[in-house]
């Protein structure tokens, strides 16, 4: 699997993502600056966490309009895989690749702790290494993770099986306890908690590893 990580001004989980992907793929992972305009040849494009553009205007709003995002959208439309984590999830929602929006946490607090999630599906490229209903733990670190969509959109997201992960104990007010969503085709995933921070025991857990291994397996198939 050939993977790359997009880098925006004030991305700060980009290197963690690179380390996690290199461990899973066994090959080097490119860092792609947001001004670049070519993503041909990649199987997976990762949009990392951070505080792109200082969260100005709305989280992810500026980054979603940067030159590389037009290419990320093309990559997704070609059927390529896109993984957005935390700020990456916010950027994917702002770009229109994923439905809904991430708002300020309902209790206004920055959440920085390990969070339990349940896996909703395991028939996607991202989650074949998990069991449906399995409880996994990823670290969460966000101020704006409160997933919101209007009732019509939410109904569609639920009806089409686009919910990827749900919080066991909703920490931020997200609609339907949603922690992560897929696009309609299931090749784009965005989630708030950090799988890339859960790939070594030294970091406190291994629950993120199956996600990266699933992606490698899927691109080899």
């Amino acid at each position: 699997m050939k993977a790359c990580v997009i880098v925006f001004p004030a991305s700060n989980c980009d290197r963690d993502m690179k380390v996690a992907l290199e461990a899973a793929t066994g090959s080097s992972v490119d860092m792609v600056w947001h001004r670049e305009t070519d993503l041909t040849g990649y199987d997976l494009v990762a949009v990392p966490g951070g505080f792109s553009y200082g969260d100005y205007l709305r989280c992810g709003a500026m980054a979603a309009r940067s030159p590389i995002m037009a290419e990320v959208i093309k990559h997704a439309n070609r059927g390529g895989h896109v993984l957005g984590v935390c700020n990456g999830f916010q950027i994917l929602c702002e770009s229109g690749l994923l439905p809904g929006v991430l708002m300020r946490n309902a209790n206004l607090k920055f959440i920085c702790k390990d969070i339990e999630l349940t896996v909703e599906r395991n028939d996607t490229a991202f989650t074949s290494g998990y069991d449906v209903g399995q409880t996994i733990t990823f670290p969460a670190a966000h101020h704006d993770g409160n997933y919101f969509a209007n009732s019509e959109t939410l109904k569609r997201v639920e009806g089409q099986g686009q919910v990827a992960f749900r919080y066991v104990n909703n920490p931020n007010g997200s609609a339907d306890d949603i922690a992560g969503v897929y696009n309609e085709n299931g090749n784009v995933l965005g989630l708030m908690p950090h799988p890339e921070r859960s790939v070594e025991m030294l970091l406190g857990g291994l629950d993120g590893k199956p996600m990266f291994d699933s992606l490698v397996k899927s691109s080899a198939a």
Binding site: L57, A61, E94, G100, V101, M103, A106, L108, G173
Partner: protein
Amino acid sequence: MKAKVHVTLKNGVLDPQGKAIEHTLHSLGFEGLNQARQGKFIELDLAETDPKKAHAQVDEMCKKLLANTVIENYTIDIEG
């Protein structure tokens, strides 16, 4: 000409920051406050001199960047 854009959360969208403002105003002793909602105000200085064209341009800016219409409404005031 100048454009003034107000971006506000749609009705029914939870506004925790507005709620916090409301609570603090209550705790400061202000009575009769039913609700506080927080929004954004953006002032734009435009080269355009035709008010209609200016409005159309700012409307496009709102749709493409300034507002997220999933959760926000916006109003545009053009001033000569």
